[in-house]
């Protein structure tokens, strides 16, 4: 079980003196044996929250408890060794490190090529074609994304965090990805899953849904309760005029 207690995270503003609060006083519990999906508008602070959970960023204030232990000050490595896994929204590229190396490091064992291949097959990649490829810019965005997910599957974390796993994955494979998560959900005993997503299909396999907006926890409850309210709203950012780009601003 992961507990976030009054987590806030600030960064220095561009001018240097002012501080911007990206995550504001978020308290949230990820219970055991549940699949939680976090959603919300772009720039709302979802990835930042995931990075705080993994320890890539440290909160400005607040506390993180994992299975009752205060892990707020623990490093990424220590959290990984306690069972937290994280699939990046934007997978990292390497020079020279091969897909097999990454999967082997994820399992922390002397893995055979055959066993490594099963994780690639699980994310819909023809293992034979990819196992010895470099995890570099020569892979397509979608390929990198699937390999990223495969490394987390291989790690078999007790708490698996996926940041927009569907991004860049084609429609045909999306079904396959849903099956991966359904499979994980079916075998969730002793673990929990946190997925950041904008996809209705992924929201619909959640036990609980969390909405993060403007760095704050806007909604949290069982899927049955939250999902209908999300599908009902016309716009995720109601106080902003949609469809116009004012001079001096750029669209994302």
């Amino acid at each position: 079980m992961l507990e976030l207690k009054n987590i806030s995270f600030q960064v220095a503003g561009e001018k240097g003196d002012d501080r911007i609060e990206i995550v504001r006083n978020v308290s949230l519990t990820i219970p055991d044996e549940k699949l939680i999906v976090i959603t919300g508008p772009n720039g709302g602070g979802k990835s930042t929250l995931a990075r705080l959970i993994m320890g890539i960023e440290k909160p400005t204030s607040g506390q993180i408890l994992y299975n009752g232990e205060d892990i707020t000050e623990l490093s990424v490595t220590e959290r990984a060794r306690r069972g937290i896994g994280f699939a990046f929204q934007q997978p990292v590229r390497f020079k020279g490190i091969e897909v097999f190396d990454l999967i082997r490091l994820a399992t922390g064992t002397k893995l055979s090529v055959k066993d490594a291949c099963q994780y690639l097959s699980a994310v819909g990649l023809c293992a034979r074609d990819y196992i010895n490829r470099e995890v570099s810019g020569s892979l397509s965005g979608g390929e990198l994304k699937r390999i990223e997910i495969a490394t987390v599957l291989a790690k078999k974390p007790q708490l698996a965090v996926f940041d927009e796993p569907e991004a860049g994955i084609d429609l045909w494979s999306f079904q396959n990805l849903i099956e991966v998560f359904e499979g994980m959900r079916a075998n969730i005993q002793g673990s929990s899953i946190l997925i950041i997503s904008h996809q209705e299909r992924i929201l619909s396999i959640a036990d609980e849904i969390v909405v993060i907006r403007d760095g704050q926890l806007a909604l949290h409850g069982p899927k049955e309760e939250i999902l209908p309210t999300l599908l009902g709203t016309d716009s995720a950012v109601p106080d902003c005029k949609m469809g116009t780009v004012t001079k001096g601003e750029t669209a994302e």
Partner: protein
């Protein structure tokens, strides 16, 4: 010819991957003398009269044969300059494994300067692998200064892989090449320096014939207080294509100077250089840490992969 001792055998496997007497033509040089030599029907290895090197002749049309000429040194204070000349006949296709391993446990510097000259005939193909390795904890330095000259005739192809990953204190590598029409040169250099080591690597490649091409790529890592200089000048004197790249990681107080140079003397010479030096990307370390590696284990994996 003296049999090799255990340290010499270990060096031999490091630099030439040899665990037994190699097949094909070979010469093993240990502490300044030959510890074994064989020629084949197509490849003749002739020792120079002064004892300082070899003349190696490959008959035209020789196919898929290998030549191993590793050097091992275990005697502290030994300094040698060795000249090896390769004459590769027209249309031949050979694989050459050179390399030098020095184990220095003594107080004096050990130095091997190997000058290799390649005369590559029309349409011939050469694959050349050269590994350098140093070990031993003596105060004496392990010094290697390889000089390589490559003269390529029409449509010949030379691929060179130069690796120096460990234990060599001081290196000054000078490589020169001249390419005739249609000749192709590919160089892959991998280098790691640590401690107070110093490594200089200079390439001058002249593309003199139409349609010649060269591709010189160095991947290197400088750790601790080590220093590297990569200096590659490609000259295009005819319609040709040339590419040189230095991709380097610096760690600790390591320093690297990359001086890529291009000279085009023909309007149809297309020359490109790329150079990138920087520390290991932070997100690469973090990714491996999320898999449970410590920061230093992550760095080790990234460096190993980079130099693979």
């Amino acid at each position: 010819m003296k049999p090799l001792d255990e340290i010499q055998k270990r060096l031999l496997s490091e630099v030439a991957g040899l665990h037994a007497i190699p097949e094909g033509a070979y010469n093993i040089r240990a502490n300044g003398t030959s510890a074994g030599r064989a020629s084949t029907a197509n490849i003749e290895i002739i020792p120079r009269e002064d004892g300082k090197g070899l003349t190696i002749k490959v008959k035209p049309g020789t196919k898929n044969e290998s030549i191993h000429i590793p050097v091992v040194m275990t005697q502290s204070g030994l300094k040698e300059v060795v000249y090896n000349d390769f004459y590769i006949g027209e249309g031949a296709d050979v694989f050459i494994v050179a390399g030098c391993g020095i184990d220095n446990c003594g107080p004096q510097d050990s130095e091997h300067d190997g000058i290799h000259r390649f005369y590559v005939g029309k349409g011939a193909k050469v694959r050349y692998v050269e590994k350098h390795y140093g070990s031993g904890d003596g105060r004496g330095k392990r010094i290697l200064n390889p000089g390589t000259e490559v003269y390529q005739e029409e449509d010949s192809s030379v691929e060179m892989e130069m690796v120096q990953i460990k234990g060599v204190d001081d290196t000054n590598r000078v490589t020169k090449a001249e390419l005739a029409k249609g000749a192709r040169l590919v160089v892959r250099e991998r280098l790691m320096t640590h401690g107070d080591q110093k490594a200089l690597s200079t390439y001058t490649v002249e593309m003199n014939g139409e349609g010649s091409s060269s591709d010189v790529v160095s991947r290197s890592v400088a750790r601790d207080n080590s220093y590297q200089k990569f200096d590659a000048v490609l000259t295009g004197n005819a319609p040709c294509t040339g590419h040189t790249e230095c991709d380097a990681i610096i760690m600790d107080n390591g320093r690297i100077l990359a001086v890529p140079g291009l000279e085009a003397n023909d309007v149809d010479a297309a020359l490109v250089h790329e150079a990138a030096i920087g520390k290991i990307a932070g997100d690469q370390i973090i990714k491996l840490m999320t898999l449970g590696l410590t920061e230093s284990e992550a760095e080790e994996q990234i460096v190993n992969g980079f130099l693979k």
